[in-house]
Amino acid sequence: MERLNDEGQWIVLMGFLVSVGIFFLAFVLSQSTLVGQTTSDAVLEFPKNEIRDYRAEVIDLVKEDKITDAIIKDLKSLELHRNNAVVNFTYLGEITGSPGSLYDYTKINISFNNGLTRYKELCYVPKKK
């Protein structure tokens, strides 16, 4: 058996390293466009403004004592039909501020769920004594 020729090993090794480098770059390229696409999709899908609007409206209504059964029904069906969201709102009672304090509080629970994003808040709405 003839001996194996062991010359030029550096050249072989460098060739190998370059090919691994090209392989790696191809992998990075295959991922990059997907990343850009999914990021902006995620930003657009997040219902930040819807949640803020619903929360502000409910807190205002509680402050001004305008919540009725009809209003709650309106909120639920409008959010369901226009924002694809299931919303809920529950009264958890009145809390009297300690003597000398300026406010009484109404304790409420606000929730918003559009299947992807769920928001829940326990909120104390202040009312001037």
């Binding site: 194996l4 090209i22 392989f23 992998f27 295959s30 696409q37 209504l61 029904k73 069906s77 409008l78």
Partner: protein, 173 residues
């Protein structure tokens, strides 16, 4: 018959490895999800949506606690207030420093959604629109919940007080 011998085994292995690497590289390149829309295609939509939301938020913020907001005033009067709403929204959407003039290319359509108390369905009617109703690019929608305790004759409401959704569809024309 030529006898198979065992020379140059390292070269054989190297050739095989190089071949595998090339095939794998070609696989990754061809398998790339090429999208002709760039990743930032939605940024313009996001900006338009934010401008619209901010304009409606400004309109829905009262100057003090004892009065209702501008938007509540418009909605409580039925469709009669379209002109003043149109002026205000146009003004908010195109606010600038006065040192530059901007191309007035935002168009919109405003509608009101309400619940029919008899059937629990949601009804809609058009509040008004600015510009031709021809959308060129994807439109975005922004909305506000509005409290209404009036029953204007131009609106088909069947109970009061009630909650409405005021929705504006915006696009660049």
């Amino acid at each position: 018959m030529v006898m198979a011998d065992d020379r140059a085994q390292l070269y054989t292995i190297e050739g095989l490895t190089a071949g595998l690497i090339m095939i794998a590289t070609a696989y990754f390149v061809l398998n790339t999800g090429f999208m002709y829309a760039p990743g930032d295609a939605h940024i313009a939509d996001m900006q338009l949506e934010q401008i619209g939301t901010d304009a409606l938020l400004m309109m829905d913020t009262p100057v003090n606690d004892s009065v209702g907001s501008e938007l509540e005033g418009y909605v409580n009067d039925g469709t009669g207030q379209w002109d003043s709403f149109n002026t205000t929204l146009n003004n908010y959407l195109r606010m600038n420093t006065g040192a530059t003039s901007m191309v007035n290319n935002i168009r919109y359509n405003a509608s009101i959604y309400y619940r029919k108390s008899s059937t629990d369905e949601v009804g809609a009617f058009e509040f008004g629109h600015f510009g031709d109703l021809v959308a060129h690019e994807p439109a975005v929608s922004v909305s506000r919940l509005v409290y209404c305790d009036n029953n204007p004759p131009s609106a088909p409401y069947d109970h009061s007080p009630q909650e409405l959704i005021f929705e504006v569809i915006l696009w660049r024309g």
